[in-house]
Each structure stands twice: as structure tokens, then as C-alpha cells.
Symmetry: C2
Subunit: 585 residues, 2 copies
């Protein structure tokens, strides 16, 4: 089939089988919102389940949490989003229509102004004399539009809130609390799956740019001094995973053809600023491949400094090649350093540090000053003595020494005490550790974009009919169950009874199962091929004799016979056969 | 243990083990928002999975969809929420604090004014001379506060939106589209699980009244004329399910002790206005029992007319008894009739009807009028003839007859045509069906409330330690895997390797698995008892000899030995043992 119309074929299939469609159609639609039908919900959930296996369940140090979508304003003030999470827009001074400025400039001049200042954008608009494409009007100067959805929390005015555009802040503000619960150990990954909202200017491209969508994210907290030692434990299968990478350096030189490089090499050649960033890119490569995307259609594309989000010291986009839109981002890997924790500590005054225990305590010699009771009594007499001594006892000897060093005296209870009132000496102390802000790397996936690229690579046709070759572990249903003939005769009723009992047993065991008795068996096979059900079990006449059923393979259309009792384990083996979780540490 | 402090013990446990906690604590907290830690996320997800098994996967006519949280305003204008989804509030004229008026009245007078008018509430406040509990100030007259979170969609002012407070509208506005996809068949249930938001006035009671929470909901569409016949197919196990019910009639007579009544009797005695309402109450009773709630602690409490939501013709709350708050609602069963579909049809002008095909066409005799060309030509002459005939052809003969009946003439192209211009006759027509609005019943569950009551009934203590006796199918982890000793000796390393490989295999197969090697085995058992892990597998010295492991039961502390290869199937049997899905049709 021609690559160029693959996108349309998928939209067609989605519409026909109710996989997904634009929301609010009866009200004329609202750009940037999509609904999912039953097949879509199942595929989405399977992608999420698989992500959880790769990024949470198989990771010893990662746990999953859930935090609210609605946040008080202060969270996104502290995070820097209120200031930076904007898009440049231009408004037509005649018709009032608002356009995303960088998209407009790109479309009409070919110039990429992503991450450039409003002034630079205005210059390009002036230079090329760009006018409103709707009415030919002149544009007002470019401005920044905040992409956060705003709301008010509670019955009072003045309690503004925002819908989260990412999960990250929910992890950062809870980091210190969860660190205590897990026993103050790093590295610690906090994962979250859920809805986010971004008030895009003019969303297009169906599932690829939505105003409300699902994100799967890990914030991985680590001690940068231990990173090198800890990352030595990364399993060989991840270390040897080959990625296709385009670095920022390469891009600066005009090279966009990726190099093939292993996770190990990314770390050793210092292509990445954090070993953990490379680790998660490796896991992400394994994950996206396990969705059925060919390795050669995946690349990691490093962002240039001006293209990066405000919190990131290094960012790679994981991109997948699509028929209509070329390379599109399905995940971002950002090295957020200590940015977020420090900002939240500043805004909340809470202690968000990690206590780095030293392997062995450090011995340090310090100078200290102790109050000399005799001298103080002599100087002040008994009346003031105890008040002064009480106040001095609130300060530690190191502090007292420093104050003497600076002022040559210490003030207590309003009285200035000279150097003679103190005994100064040197002491050895053991320092067991220090407080640090952990560093953070973040792999973050958009589910709906993965969903779309999965459909592109699963789509195929056989004899003019659609066969969706989804990997079994992300199929909407693992298996379909059919009675061969669903008639009124007693033997047909028995087929129905057996088929339904197989269906019930498999549902109970956690399989996703479709039961269908309508139309010819051929039509039923075609219907399940189209939505990607990998196996179809048919109860036929022979079943009534010997308790066996046929299992048909979607991709080969071959059938084998198997005893009903062996079905659950057999299906399990088939479904898990292609699922490689060898990266388990 | 004393029932009165069970609530505190659960809050303690939740805090200590990071199960759930108030959100935004570093910023002083925001009422009505809670975070979930890893154990909480797993239990929540297990409750959702179980609900899906009961309400979706085992129901032949129910499919799951996903629609947006953010909706354009028109959706909640049409649904009536903008007008009715409010709470009465009173504001203090001195300090400006806002209180929920019905809660305030209840607290200080004991009078229940739920669903009463603002005027009635003001009367009670005046009669009892209620003052602001904060400052003693006088209240302004009661007013209605809208409980929808408001936002703006897109870069333009004047595109208001709301966050959904329920899923229902997402199902109603998509009903006609999905009906086409599934082949125009009723009954049809549309299910959805996801976040909703309600801008409560002053949320309290931890997980029981949240501003953002998760709802699991089915909108079940049916033809009321077929209901009686179709509900005959309800399985015996659901028909015979016994519910504890307090009807509105009983409440009017002051009786609050529930009667025990089967689903079948609810239908036959017409206690419910729809048989499907009783069906879903039966499924809901089975579901809540399977969460570990004793049957005697569940009741269905019918709302009085003034307590019902604006869209409901009959509502039962499913309530569970709690230690501190008494009976609390965990689900609502509302008979929404045709209210929502008719409203959306009115506001959108879309056709949201179902075409009810008759079993056999109905033959009807109707009167019709056909234009008589000769007479018209005679009356008008050739010049106007064709224009008039063209316009008449746009109307069907039945319409023309009706116009003649009323006006004794028909106007076409501005010319009045008398009765003589038409041939009137009787005709027989076959009518194959008619358009109707389906009726809707809705079971709707709040996940966080279920979560809380599940913890209350699972909580127990043994030798002064917490044992959370969760049913295995909703435990946060199905199984824990331990190496007996995790030391440096080669045999200990082998234990670790085997334990990790069991862990990996079980994760891959879809079990929720916890791996732990820290501290003594006794402490590890205690740690998993506390969060409700039903089984713990230990790899010990004997494992190294004969490939068997011990499996310990949380509730009995008994251990049995089993071959590693038999572990997955054995655990499956244990976990599913108590899960009764016999209501399968």
C-alpha cells in the first residue's frame, strides 16, 4: 500500500470500528479532544500495562504514586511553568484570530523559530511581511500565551489553581515524604500514569496534539556522586542495547543521520550528562520495540539548548517515523538536575534534601568556644548570671567561636561578653554525612502518540481486508471465543454453552476476551483480524466429542487443536512469547 | 479493638506505610485532595480491575469508553448541571467565611434540609438564630454555589469549559454514534472509569469527600417496552441475590431497618421503577461483597423525591457501615429515564434516538392528497404551472392532506390552491418501527470511598501487629518473594538468584509481586501482613536441593511446600478461589 494514505486508512478503521473519534461531535467538536471506544480503551490500557512492566514492576527502585490533576497555583509558580510554559502567539489586528507564531513562521517561510524570543519572531514576521492567512490583516506584536488550564479551587475568589501539564511536580513535592517511607534510600524512581491538560493554541493532527491526554512518567532521583558506581550494576542486556542517536553536536554540524551507539558507549563516551539518562533511554528503546515498532524507525534526537524546557540540562526526544508527519516525538528524556527540588524548597520553605551518609565519617578539626562560668560570674555578678548562661546554652560552641571571631565579643541577654568570658580550644568532630539535593532524570511518554504509531506499524492488509498485526501482549483482546454454529439445535446450544464457559473462565483469569456468535465463522475471523485479536478459539462439533477446540493464529491463519483444560496455559505462553523482559536487573 | 478508633488506626497505617496522605502538604495542603502511594495505587487499581470484571467484562452488552474530563460549557448547560449542580451556602457578613448551609443547619439544629429551597434554609437559620461559628457574625441570605470547576478552552476569551463531575454526559453525547458502531442494538451499556472533579464547599472526612476522585460508572440504555421481556434472561444467581433495602415508603413511615429482598422480588413487587435498576443493584451487591464487605454491613437506601438529583426518577444509594461516620454512600443507582438524551438532542439538534423496529410491520390506513395536474394547469395556466408543481413535490401526500384539512387550501409559490386541485384518497402503509429515546439506568461508584471501607473491613491485629485481611484478588501485591537469607555466601547468592527469577517470571505473567531481602524473615512477613499481601514465597536451603519453595498464608500463617514450576498455577487458584463471578449470564 502507498505509505502516503496509511494515515487516512487508520482514521477510517478507527471510525468504522469505533476505536477513537473527535470528542463533542454533536456540538460541532472542540479541537484537541478525542474519545476512545472499547477497542481503543483496551489498546491504551495494554500500552500502559506494558509500560508499567518495563518502567515500574521490573525496576527495583521505582514505585508508582498518584497525585491530583488540579493543583494550587503556587506549585506551577515554583516549577517555573507559569513563567515559561508558554507558546508564542500572534493576533490579527483585523479579525482577531490567534495563531501559534512559530508554526505560522515555519509554514510560510520555512524558518524554524522554536525557542526563539518574541522579538526575533517579530523580526521574521516583519522581514517576510507575513499577514493573517484568514483575512490578510496585519499582526499585533507576538506575545506569550500560557498553556496551563486555569481554574478556581473552592468557594472563595482568589484561590487559583491549574491543571497539571505533566506529572513531575506531583513527584517533586512528595519526594521528601516518600523518601522517609522507603527508608531514606536513593536511587528512587517515582512513577505516575494519568491525565494531563495543555491549553494548546490550535491543536491539529488528531491524536498527536491533544489538549487532554495521558502521560506515563518517571522522576528518577539519584545522588550524582554515587551515580557512576551505581550505574555499574546496570544489566548487560540494557548496557548492550543499541540506540540510534542524533546528538546536538551532530545537528549543529548539519548531520541528521543517526549513529548506532550502545547505552554503555553513551555513558563511557560522555554523550549523556547522566548515566541514568542513558539507562532510561535503553529501557525506552526496549519498550517501544516491544510495542511492535521496528528498531530502524526509532531515533533519539537531542534538543539544542534553546529548544530545551527551562528545567532541563540535557534532553533527548525519542521519535518514531510516521507516514504523514515524519519523525514525531513519543517520549522525552530530560536531565532536570536539582532544578525542581530547589525551586519547591525555596517556595515552600520545606526541607527537600536527601541526607548523604558518608561511607566512613570524616574527622575534622574545628575551633570552639565554651562559656567560662567563673569569668562570666565575675563580670556580671549573680543577678544576670543565670539568664546569660541560659541564653548561651542555646548556641553551639562552633557558633560561639565564629561570633567571637567576627565581633570579638558575644551578645547574650543584651549584654556584650568579651573574649575573656570564653574558653577557646580545638576539637575533633566526626561528620557522618551532609544534606544534598538529589539529581533527577525523567523519561516521559505520551500514551496517545504511542497508540497512533502502534496502529501505523500494526496495519496490514490481506486479500483486501485489514489485519492489525498488534503484538499479542498489547492487543485489545488476547483471544476471541466462538461457537462454530450458534443455532437452535441441541448440539449448537451445547457449543454456545461451552464457548461461554471458556469465555468466563478466561475472563476470570485476567485475559481480555471477546465472545461473538453472529454471522459466519469467516466473517467473525475477519472482524477480529481487523481489530488485532491475535488468537481465536472455536468450539465445533469435534469439541462435543473430545473436549478440544481450535486455536487460530491471526497472522498465519493456521489452526491447531488443543484440549480445553490446557487452553489458559497455552494462551499465556503464546501471548508472552514475544514479550522480552530480559532487562530485569 | 474498639470500633471508635478504627478510623484513626487506618489513617495511622496509611501514613506509616505511605498508602495515602493529604496532597500539597509542603504548601500547607488544599482540602479535598489526596495522594496515593504505591500500596494505595495498587489497591485502587485492583478495585477498578474487579469492578471491570463485574460491570463490563462479564456483561455481554456493556462496553467501555473514555471521554475527556474537560468539556465545553454547553454540555453541562444541556445536562442541567449548570442550573442544578449546586450546594446551598451561607456567607458570614462579618468575616466573609462561606459555609455549606445544609451541613451548618444539620450540625447546629439537627434538622436535615438536604434538597430544600434556599428560602426554607433561611427560615431555619432565622428561627434558630444561627450565627457564624467562626466570629459570631450574622449570615447573608443563603445562595447557591456551583460545584463545577470552571476553565477556559483555547486562546480566546469566551470559550468556557467545565471539568466533568460525573462520566454520564460523555456517554450520552456519544450514544448515537456508538449505537451505530455496535449495530443499532439495545440494551447497550457504556462504561467509563476515570477522574472527575467537584468543587466542594468545605471538603472534610479524608477520602470520603474529595474535590478530585475516580468514578466507575455505567450508563445502561434500554427500550422500556422490551425491558420486561429482556430482563427475563437475568441469570438465577442475580435474581436470587438478597439485598438489604430501605425504601422511600419505609423512610416516610420512619422505618430505617432494612428489609431483605431478592432482585426478583424487587422487580415483581414493583419496588423499583425499572427492572434493570434492580439488576444492577444485584450486581453491585455481589461486587461490594467480593471486596470483603460483609453482606450485613451493606444496605440500599432509597432517596426521597426532594433528595434526588434533578435527572432521576428513582435513586437508591448503596451504603456501607463505617466505624466513625455510620452509613456512607459508596454507589448510586439512578433511573435517569430519557432526561439526558432529550436535553442533549434539544441543545445540539442532533438525532439521539433509537429506531425501535417492530416485530412485524404495522399496517395503517392514512388519508393522502396528490396534486391533480389537470386542475392545476386549468387554474394557473402554463406560466406558473411548473414552479407550483415543483414546490408541491417537496411535500409528501400525508402533509398535503393535513394542510387541506386545516386550511381547506394549500399555498405553493405564493398561490393558494383550493381542494379541487388535489386528488384525495385512502392508502394502506406499512410502518416498520419508530424512533424512541431509550431509557437509562446508571450504577455509579466512587473508588476512593470503596477503598476506605475496604481498609476498614480488612483491618485486624494479631499479637499487636496489623494484618490487613484483604481478599487476595484486591491485594496490593498478590505475592511477596523472599530469599531466606540474603548474605554474601554462595548459597545465599543462589537463593537471591532463584528468588529474583521467580519474581521476574511472576511479574511477566501479570502477577503483582513484591521482592524483599531486607531484615529477618519474620520482619519481612510482618511488613507484608501489614499491607495485606496474601501469600509469601520463601526460597530456602531446601530449594537449593529440590526446587521447592514455601508458600505462607497471611491469615493462617501456615506454610506449605510446592515445586517452583507449579507456583504460577497454584497462586492463580488461590487468588481466584474466593472470586465468585457466577452472575455471568
Amino acid at each position: 500500500m502507498a505509505q502516503s494514505d496509511l494515515h487516512d486508512k487508520i482514521i477510517d478503521l478507527a471510525k468504522r470500528r469505533g476505536i477513537f473519534w473527535p470528542s463533542f461531535e454533536i456540538y460541532g467538536g472542540v479541537a484537541g479532544f478525542y474519545d476512545f471506544g472499547p477497542v481503543g480503551v483496551f489498546i491504551k490500557r495494554s500500552i500502559i500495562d506494558l509500560w508499567l512492566k518495563f518502567f515500574v514492576y521490573s525496576q527495583e527502585n521505582v514505585i508508582e504514586i498518584e497525585t491530583p490533576i488540579i493543583n494550587p497555583r503556587v506549585v506551577f509558580k515554583a516549577s517555573g511553568h507559569e513563567e515559561h510554559f508558554t507558546d508564542p502567539v500572534v493576533e490579527c489586528s483585523s479579525c482577531g484570530k490567534v495563531f501559534r507564531a512559530d508554526h505560522l513562521v515555519k509554514e510560510f517561510t520555512g524558518i524554524d523559530v522554536e525557542g526563539r524570543s518574541l522579538r526575533e519572531i517579530d523580526e521574521v514576521i516583519r522581514k517576510y511581511d507575513l499577514k493573517c492567512p484568514e483575512c490578510g490583516g496585519i499582526f499585533k506584536p507576538a506575545s506569550s500565551a500560557l498553556l496551563l488550564f486555569a481554574t478556581e479551587i473552592g468557594p472563595y475568589k482568589g484561590s487559583p489553581g491549574y491543571l497539571r501539564p505533566e506529572h513531575a511536580q506531583g513527584m517533586f513535592i512528595n519526594f521528601a515524604k516518600i523518601l522517609r517511607v522507603v527508608g531514606e534510600k536513593l536511587p528512587l524512581g517515582l512513577a505516575q500514569v494519568g491525565k494531563v491538560a495543555r491549553n494548546e493554541i490550535s491543536p491539529r493532527q488528531a491524536l498527536l496534539r491533544l489538549r487532554e491526554f495521558t502521560i506515563m512518567e518517571v522522576e528518577f532521583f539519584f545522588d550524582p556522586e554515587r551515580e557512576s558506581a551505581e550505574s555499574k550494576n546496570i544489566s548487560e542486556s540494557v548496557m548492550n542495547e543499541k540506540l540510534r542517536v542524533v546528538t546536538a553536536d551532530m545537528r549543529m554540524k548539519g548531520i541528521e543521520e543517526p549513529i548506532e551507539i550502545t547505552v554503555k558507549e553513551l555513558i563511557e563516551n560522555r554523550v549523556v550528562k547522566s548515566a541514568w539518562l542513558a539507562y532510561w533511554m535503553g529501557i525506552g528503546n526496549l519498550f517501544v520495540k516491544s510495542l511492535g515498532i521496528p528498531a530502524g524507525k526509532i531515533r533519539f534526537f537531542e534538543k539544542l539548548p534553546h529548544e530545551r524546557a527551562h528545567y532541563s540540562a540535557q534532553t533527548f526526544d525519542q521519535e518514531v517515523y510516521t507516514s504523514r508527519y515524519g519523525w514525531i516525538e513519543v517520549a522525552g528524556y530530560a536531565y532536570r538536575t536539582t532544578y525542581d527540588l530547589e525551586r519547591h524548597a525555596e517556595f515552600s520553605k520545606a526541607d527537600l534534601t536527601y541526607y548523604r551518609k558518608y561511607e566512613a565519617p570524616i574527622i575534622k578539626t574545628i575551633e570552639v568556644a565554651y562559656p567560662n562560668p567563673q569569668e562570666i560570674l565575675k563580670l556580671l555578678g549573680a543577678s544576670k548570671y543565670s539568664e546569660v548562661m541560659r541564653e548561651l546554652s542555646q548556641h553551639n560552641p562552633e557558633e560561639l567561636f565564629r561570633e567571637l571571631l567576627v565581633n570579638n565579643s558575644v551578645v547574650a541577654a543584651g549584654i556584650s561578653l568579651p573574649r575573656e568570658c570564653f574558653i577557646i580550644k580545638k576539637e575533633e568532630v566526626k561528620i557522618h554525612g551532609e544534606k544534598i539535593y538529589p539529581h533527577v532524570v525523567e523519561p516521559s511518554f505520551g500514551v496517545e502518540r504511542l497508540f497512533y504509531v502502534v496502529l501505523e506499524y500494526a496495519y496490514s492488509e490481506r486479500d483486501g481486508k485489514v489485519v492489525l498485526k498488534l503484538p499479542p501482549h498489547i492487543a485489545p483482546y488476547h483471544v476471541a471465543v466462538f461457537p462454530l454454529v450458534a443455532g437452535k439445535k441441541p448440539e449448537h446450544q451445547r457449543m454456545i454453552d461451552i464457548a461461554k464457559s471458556i469465555y468466563r473462565d478466561l475472563v476470570k483469569r485476567g485475559f481480555r476476551v471477546l465472545y461473538d456468535e453472529e454471522g459466519s465463522i469467516g466473517k467473525r475471523y475477519a472482524r477480529v483480524d481487523e481489530i488485532g485479536v491475535p488468537y481465536a478459539v472455536t468450539v465445533d462439533y469435534q469439541t462435543l466429542e473430545d473436549n478440544t477446540v481450535t486455536v487460530r493464529d491471526r497472522d498465519t491463519t493456521q489452526q491447531i487443536r488443543i484440549d480445553i483444560n490446557k487452553l489458559p496455559e497455552y494462551l499465556n505462553t503464546l501471548i508472552l512469547r514475544e514479550l522480552n523482559l530480559n532487562m530485569f536487573q
